[in-house]
Symmetry: C2
Subunit: 457 residues, 2 copies
Amino acid sequence: MPKPTLPQGTRDFNAETVYKRQYIFSTIRSVFERYGYQPLETPSFEQLETLMGKYGDEGDQLIFKILNNGLNHPDKKQKVQDAFDQVMAGKSSKDITERALRYDLTIPFARYVATHHGQLTMPFKRFQMQPVWRADRPQKGRYREFYQCDADVVGSKSLLNEVEFIHMYDDVFSALQLKVEIRINHRQILAALAEACGGEQWMTPITVAIDKLEKVGLEQVKSELISKGVSEDAWKKIQAYLEISGTNEEKITAAEQILGNIPSAQQAIADFKQILQFPSLTNLKQELMIDFTLARGLNYYTGCIFEIKSKEVAMGSIGGGGRYDNLTGSFGVPGVPGAGISFGVDRVYDVIEELKRFPTSVQAGTQVLFFHLEPEASLVAFNLMQQLRKSGVRAEMFHESAKFDKQFKYAEKKQIPYVIILGAKEVETNSCVVKNLTTGQQESINQSQLLQYVFEG
Amino acid sequence: MPKPTLPQGTRDFNAETVYKRQYIFSTIRSVFERYGYQPLETPSFEQLETLMGKYGDEGDQLIFKILNNGLNHPDKKQKVQDAFDQVMAGKSSKDITERALRYDLTIPFARYVATHHGQLTMPFKRFQMQPVWRADRPQKGRYREFYQCDADVVGSKSLLNEVEFIHMYDDVFSALQLKVEIRINHRQILAALAEACGGEQWMTPITVAIDKLEKVGLEQVKSELISKGVSEDAWKKIQAYLEISGTNEEKITAAEQILGNIPSAQQAIADFKQILQFPSLTNLKQELMIDFTLARGLNYYTGCIFEIKSKEVAMGSIGGGGRYDNLTGSFGVPGVPGAGISFGVDRVYDVIEELKRFPTSVQAGTQVLFFHLEPEASLVAFNLMQQLRKSGVRAEMFHESAKFDKQFKYAEKKQIPYVIILGAKEVETNSCVVKNLTTGQQESINQSQLLQYVFEG
C-alpha cells in the first residue's frame, strides 16, 4: 500500500512549528487589541456568488470551488448535466457548485459589514486571522493554504487610522525583534502622475511599470512607458519624481515642486504632512520611510498605501495595506470608506527562522518526566505528578515500567529537561531524585519539597 | 441588490463569541499541555482517497469534495466527461475532484502517524483543535463547519493513559466551573454480552440497542433484541447487566457475578480494577461513574470508552473517547494501538452560556477611550495614549474631533469602561480627566500619573 500523501501546496505543522506560529499570531493579536481592534471569524466557505467577480478573471480561476452533494439524485439529472456543460465551458454553475473556499479575508469582511451594517458601531475596527485557499501553482514560499492576518477599520476617513497603522507595524516588528522599513506612499500622488501624462487612463500602466522599478531599473520602466505612449515631457516628470531622495521632509518638498500644481498631489502631500506632525512618530523603533516608488498592484486603494520590507533578510514585502473608499459597494451598501493592514505571517516566520530569533520560551513541551518504576512506587509518583500538574507544571510519567535506559532515552528524544526518579527505595524515605538533564546535576529531595521546586525552561 | 447570505449551517463569530470560544479552547489546551500532549495542525483538505471509505457509506456521502481547477482545458475534455458520468452515477473520480475537506481529526492524524511512523518518539501524544466540515442537514446545534478538539496517544497500551484521560476531563470541566459525569465503560464487557448471546456477530445489534436505552426504555430494548433472535436466557443476562447499580466497586462485583466466566469480561473487569486503584482518582472534583449502559456507536473502539454528560443542563454528551487497536492499519502501518478523547466545544459553549458562567474577564475589549478634542490637545492625548498602550492597556482615541455627546455614546455602545478627557484647558495644566463610566466617578489627575492609573476590567 503506498504511503498516503498531502495535497500539493499544503503542510502539516508539528508542535515546534505550531508554537512558533502561535508566537507570531499572539504578538500581532495583542498589538491589534491594544489599538482597539476586535476579532471576527467568518466561515471557511462562502456562497460562490459572494466571491466570484471580486478578484479579477485571474483570481476567479484560483478560487477553490466545492462540489455540491447529492449530484447523483435522479430528479436532478438534466439540470446537473446542463450545469456541467457550463463548467466545461469555463463558467460556474450553482447546480454543480454553490460554495467556495475563502480566497482572502477582505471580501468575507465586506460581506459581514454589508449584512450587519445597521447594527455595527462605527467606526468598526476588526481583526481576523484565518487561513485562506488559492489554487495557485505551489512554489517555494507559496502555498495553497495559508494564513492571512488583517486589521481593518471602516466608517472613518480620519488619518489617525494611518498614524495608528504605522505604530502597529512598529510595535509588532519591534516585539518580534526584527528590523524593518515601514514604507508609505499615496495613491493620489500616483494619480497626479497619471494626470501629468494625460489623465486617469494612465493610472494602471504607470503603477504597473513603477511596481517593477526595483527589479528592472529606471531605463526599462522608461522604455515600457514611452512605448505605451507616454510623452518625453511627462516621462521627465515621472523620472524626477522617481529619483526623489532624502529625508521624509525633503521628499515631500521635492514632490511638491514637481507635482504641486496638480490637486490630487496636493491632497497626498497634505495627508503626509498631517500624518508626520504626530510627535509620537518621532519615537518609532523602526524606520518610517516615504517611498515614492511604492505602487501596490491592488486597484481598490485610494489613499495612503503601506508596505513592509525586512532590513535583514532579502525577501518580498512582509506586510502591506492601505486606504480604500468603498468596501461594501459590490454588496449594495455604498459609502463605507476604510483602511487596513495585513501581515504576511508565512514570510515573517521565514525571516525569524532565518535569523534564529524565535525565543526558546515559545515552546511549551513537557518539563518533567516521572520515571515509571515498581507498581506501588508509580502510584505514589503519579499522585505527586498530579499535584505538580495542578500547579501548572507540564509533566508526564513514562507509560509503562521499563529500564532506566529506555526512560532516559524517551526524555532525551522529547527534550524533556528534568526527570524525577521515585522507586521503592524513595517511597521508604519519602524522597525523590530530581535530575536536570541539561546540567547533569541531580539531587535527592523530600517529596513535600517537590511542589516548591522551580523547573526552568 | 439582495444582501449576501451565509452558506447554510455556517456561522460568523463576533468578538464576544470569539473570546468566549477562546476561553474554552485555551482552558482545554493548557490541560492537554500539562499532560504532555503537544499540538499538531493538518491541512484543511486531504487527498480524497485519504478520506473515502473511512467513515462508512453514510459518512462518505457527507464529505465536502473540492472541484478540480482547470476542468475546461481542451485536452482534458473526454477525460472530464467520463469522470463526470461517474459522479452522476454516485461515484467519485479524480479527474473531477481529487481533494476533500477534513471530515474529522482522527483520519488526518492517522495519515500523519502513518507517514512519519519511523521518526516519531513513541508513545506519541498529540492534540489537535481545528474545524471539520460535514454536509449534514443543518439543525439546532448541528453545523456544517465546527471545531473538534482531540487528544490522542498512540504506541501505548498502558491504562495509565485512561487514568490520565479521566483526570484531564476532571481538570477541564472543573476549570470551566461545570459539573459533569465522567461515564466509563469497556467494549470488552459488551463483547462478553455478545458472546453470551452466541458470538461476535451480536456485538453490533447489542450496542445499537443499548445505545437507545435512555431514550426508549428497557422494554423496547428487549423487544428489539428478542425480535432479532436473542434468546430469553441471553436477554436475562443482558437485563441483569443493564440493571446493575450502586457504587463503582459494587457495579464491578455485580458484573463479575453475571459475566465473570467469559474471558473478555474478565479483561474489562481487570482493567477497571487497575484504573480504580489509582489513589488520585479519589480526589476528583467531578463524578467518575462506571456506566454499563454506555455503548458508543463507533465500531473502532476496543477497550475503555468514555462519555461526558452535563449534570446541570439536559443535552447530549459533551465529550467522549476510548481505546482503539489499529489506528493506521488502513494506511498500511499495522500494530499502532492508541486511545483518545475529544471535547464537544459547541455544546460546551451552549452549556456555559445557558448557565451564564463565562467569566467577564474573557473579553478583551477596549479599556480606555481618549476623547478627540482640539487638534493640539489631541496630539498630546495621542502621545499619552501611546505610552499607555506600550504598558499593555487597550486604548482608542475617537477617530475625529466631535461633540462630547457623540464620543460618550461611542464609549457606551462599545462598553468601554473609562474615558479620558484632555482638551486645551488640560494641556495648560498638564492634567487630564479620567471618568469611570461604570461608577460615573471622575477625577482630574496629572498627566504623568496616568501611567500608574489602574484601569479595572
